[in-house]
């Protein structure tokens, strides 16, 4: 390799390392800011509460919407979760992940809500299997076959609809892993379940999701 080639490789490597370092620095800055906000919130700082609410509003709402499925219920649970945060923050253990703690509060509220409003939804969201109703039959009208070049948005919409058909325990594990991008250990903390259980739920959820998708939209690319 000549000098120019070496310089190019060196440049690419330097940029790569700098990029990696930059990302790591941003991550740590974010962590420090989060820890500082949580510490301030524990001291009763109203601004810290506001900052944390802004930081987590979309993620928390998305999780609650996946759990409850109804926007009105998700909004109600969203408000209840932040009230619960204000009530329980003095009991929060700073050695734990704040994110996991927050989602655990939200999950407990959502499960209580579902148990009260729709107890059947905690077990199986699909209707009576004996009557031949399956997840696929509950999909929105799909008269025409999938066409090439279908819009990403439409695919996502369908994927979202199919996701809603899974039982709540499978929906939540998928949303925590793929949408919230939580580590498996964090998911286990939120669910209060062992790692092996979380992995089993994740695998079953993915398998079920794929079966429904392949039955309903054969040959479609889900990326």
């Amino acid at each position: 390799m000549d000098m120019t080639g070496n310089a190019t490789v060196y440049g690419v490597m330097t940029r790569g390392i700098a990029g990696r370092d930059g990302a790591a620095a941003t991550y740590w800055e974010g962590r420090v800011a989060l820890d500082s906000d949580v510490a301030q919130l524990r001291r009763g700082d109203l601004d810290a509460l506001s900052t944390l609410l802004t930081r987590y509003q979309n993620r928390l709402y998305r999780y609650l919407l996946r759990m409850a499925r109804q926007p009105a219920e998700a909004e109600d649970l969203f408000q209840q979760t932040w009230l619960r945060v204000a009530e329980k923050i003095q009991h929060y253990d700073p050695r734990r992940s704040f994110e996991a703690w927050l989602f655990t509060l939200a999950r407990n509220l959502a499960i209580d809500h579902l148990r009260r409003i729709r107890p059947e939804s905690l077990d199986e969201p699909i209707g009576d299997a004996a009557q031949g109703e399956t997840a696929a039959t509950r999909l929105p009208s799909h008269d025409r076959p999938p066409i090439e070049g279908i819009l990403q948005r439409e695919r996502s919409q369908r994927l979202g609809v199919v996701l809603e058909m899974l039982p709540v325990v499978q929906r939540e594990v998928l949303t925590l892993r793929f949408e919230e991008e939580m580590k498996i250990e964090e998911i286990a903390e939120v669910l209060g379940a062992p790692l092996s259980t979380v992995k089993t739920r994740l695998r079953r959820a993915l398998e079920r999701l794929r079966v429904i998708l392949e039955t309903s939209y054969p040959g479609e690319n889900w990326q």
Binding site: L41, G44, L46, N58, E75, F78, Q79, E87, E179, L206
Partner: protein
């Protein structure tokens, strides 16, 4: 279950990036020789990619603002409650210490005039002790009941 079936069961978890390092190595070794598992893994990865790209629904701003306002009010109440509890505990301790200290102090300053307050184990001492404890317990119970009632009212509100 043979090696191939075991690996098949791992593919969905591989797409979710939750395999243990040993499982990942096992998978990589298998993929070198098994094209069908490679194809299958690609399908799982496409599905995982689709899930990661799902649109993020956003809460209405009015809901966010309402949640913010309510949570701030509740936080202020909790802090006030916490402060009140600390003050009450402090006052209780102070009052008990004062009460206990007052007996020998009164005796000391009156030069033994109030002999009935002699902190030896006599009848007057027992009566005085029981009376003081009863008054304090009644006061404490009233405070706890009032606090519980307040909390219930706040929860209902």
């Amino acid at each position: 279950m043979n090696e191939h079936e075991k690996i098949r069961a791992l593919l969905s978890l591989a797409a979710a990036d939750v395999l243990e390092p040993s499982e990942e190595k096992q998978l990589m070794d298998h993929l070198r020789t098994c094209d069908s598992c490679g194809v299958e893994l690609e399908k799982w990865k496409l599905l995982a990619g689709g899930l990661r790209r799902l649109p993020t629904p956003q809460p209405r701003s009015i809901v966010v603002e309402r949640a913010r306002a309510q949570a701030q009010i509740r936080l202020t109440e909790e802090i006030e409650h916490c402060w009140n509890r600390t003050v009450i505990i402090g006052l209780l301790l102070f009052a008990w210490i004062l009460t206990l200290l007052s007996w020998p102090l009164v005796r000391l300053f009156t030069g033994g005039l109030l002999g009935m307050l002699d902190p030896r184990f006599n009848h007057a001492w027992i009566v005085f002790g029981v009376f003081t404890t009863t008054v304090w317990l009644a006061g404490g119970a009233a405070a706890v009941l009032l606090s519980l009632q307040q909390r219930r009212e706040r929860r209902l509100a």
